[in-house]
Amino acid sequence: MDKISVSKPKKFKRNLIILTVLFLIVASAWFAGFNVIEVMINLNKGSRLLGRMFFPPDLSYLPNIVDPMVETVRMAIVGTFIGATLALPVAVLAANNFIKSKFLHGPLRIILNIFRTIPALVLASLFVAVFGTGPFSGVVALSIFTFGLVSKLTYETIEAIDYGQVEALMSLGANKMNILRYAIMPQILPQYMSYTLYGFEVNIRAAAVLGYVGAGGIGQTFEFNLAWRNFDRVGTIIIFSFFIVLIIDLISSSIRKRLV
């Protein structure tokens, strides 16, 4: 039988990409003053600190951090709820297949992108400056962050729906509100709820550190104990936060899996 010869796949492009990436890593490490010896010394310092935090942690402190933890979770829930609720109508307006007006979508999207790009921590320090310290500033920050995140994901989902169902509703005389109710909502609702839960997972983490800038929750307790060098209490806070975040993540993502 004749031997079939096929030309070799061209690997040049792939190799070039690998080389470029390697070069970038090495160059940026050098540029950032990354030094192996320094890392070893710091590792040593770090392990001593870890020892004081976790071997052993001060578990008797646990009752004192339940309240701030509850406050943290509450901040995340309220912030997620407000942000996601506002996000839904705005996402509908931002989607280019529901209302067809470039003058509306362009500016709206720029605003949404700005909201989404500012980290919650930056927002929080801004609101602490405006409203003072406490969970209220944290909730406002989380609401805005969630709003940006959920509205963007949702309007992209609306733009990807099966437009045939919209046309069918149009053909039978449905107005805009009915099209929204009967053709768009059923298609996006599971995703929207999933994005909201995802926002909640992100917010729990964010809420845990927001206290660092004075915006309430467990972060404030953390900051306080760190300042007083109560490292064994800091250890307790870290372990406790870790478990709470883990549990909430597990529950939330299992619900999300069932949604979509």
Partner: protein, 259 residues
């Protein structure tokens, strides 16, 4: 009942889909629109309920200009025109009942339909429509759980719930198997004959046109090139004439085949 007067449609990208169409469809007719892919069949159908806007001429429904209608006037025209699609286009994540009830939205105040509140008469209309296409037992199922043929029957029921004067069908059976095809076409025919609902259907298979239509309109490159009442024509002559629509002779073995 439906009248096209010098209607043209050029899409934004410059494609001339229809040119100078003059066509009158009378009450009670079952019209099959045939033609090659891209001939302009869907465009023609969608102009009747203004899913797309014409770029010239005017379409009339019962003497009212569809072309000029907007807002409430357009809605009151559209609710009298049922439409079914190749892809069924029912709302998969809703129950069969909600889908059929959505055919009643244009007859009810928006605040009620948003809350899903429909009067008992409307529910009766929905049940009757489902019974008409023999699928009442699926009334509480999720639409996505149904087979293709069943979904198309739900789509027909939704259109029937509108209590329409006209039924438009854009390739209603193109994604169904031959047996289901006959079922769905039989329902359309029954509704046409028993309820006197004027039916206009795009069809890929000429033998379906031959079997169900009372009139066949052929479209070629955006123009009406063929228009015949089926009572006036012999089967052999009809097959011969297909050359006018498709640009080449169509052989018997090329059609779906009904012996």
């Amino acid at each position: 009942m439906i009248e096209f007067k010098n209607v043209s449609k050029t899409y934004d990208n410059g494609v001339k889909a229809l040119e100078n169409i003059n066509l009158t469809i009378n009450e009670g007719e079952f019209v099959a629109i045939i033609g090659l892919s891209g001939a302009g069949k869907s465009t023609l159908l969608r102009l009747i309920n203004k899913l797309i806007e014409s770029t010239g001429g005017e379409v009339f429904f019962d003497g009212i200009s569809v072309t000029k209608a907007t807002g409430r006037d357009l809605i009151s025209i559209r609710r009298q025109i049922g439409m079914i699609f190749q892809g069924f286009n029912i709302v998969k994540r809703m129950s069969v009942l909600s889908n059929v009830l959505s055919g009643r939205v244009a007859y009810n105040p928006t605040w009620k339909t948003i809350l899903g509140l429909f009067p008992e008469e409307d529910k009766q209309i929905a049940y009757r429509a489902l019974k008409r296409v023999d699928i009442l037992e699926k009334v509480h199922n999720r639409a996505s759980d149904l087979s293709g043929g069943q979904q198309q029957r739900v789509a027909i029921a939704r259109a029937l719930a509108q209590e329409p004067k006209i039924m438009l069908a854009d390739e209603p059976v193109a994604s169904l198997d031959p047996i289901t095809t006959v079922q769905v076409m039989d329902y359309l025919k029954k509704i046409n004959v028993e309820d006197g609902i004027t039916t206009v259907s795009n069809l890929h298979h000429v033998d379906l046109a031959l079997k169900y239509a009372t009139r066949v309109v052929g479209i070629k490159e955006g123009k009406v090139v063929y228009d015949v009442q089926m009572v006036d024509i012999k089967k052999e002559k009809f097959y011969e004439d297909l050359e006018i629509v498709y640009g080449r002779p169509v052989h018997h073995d090329e059609v779906l085949g009904d012996k």
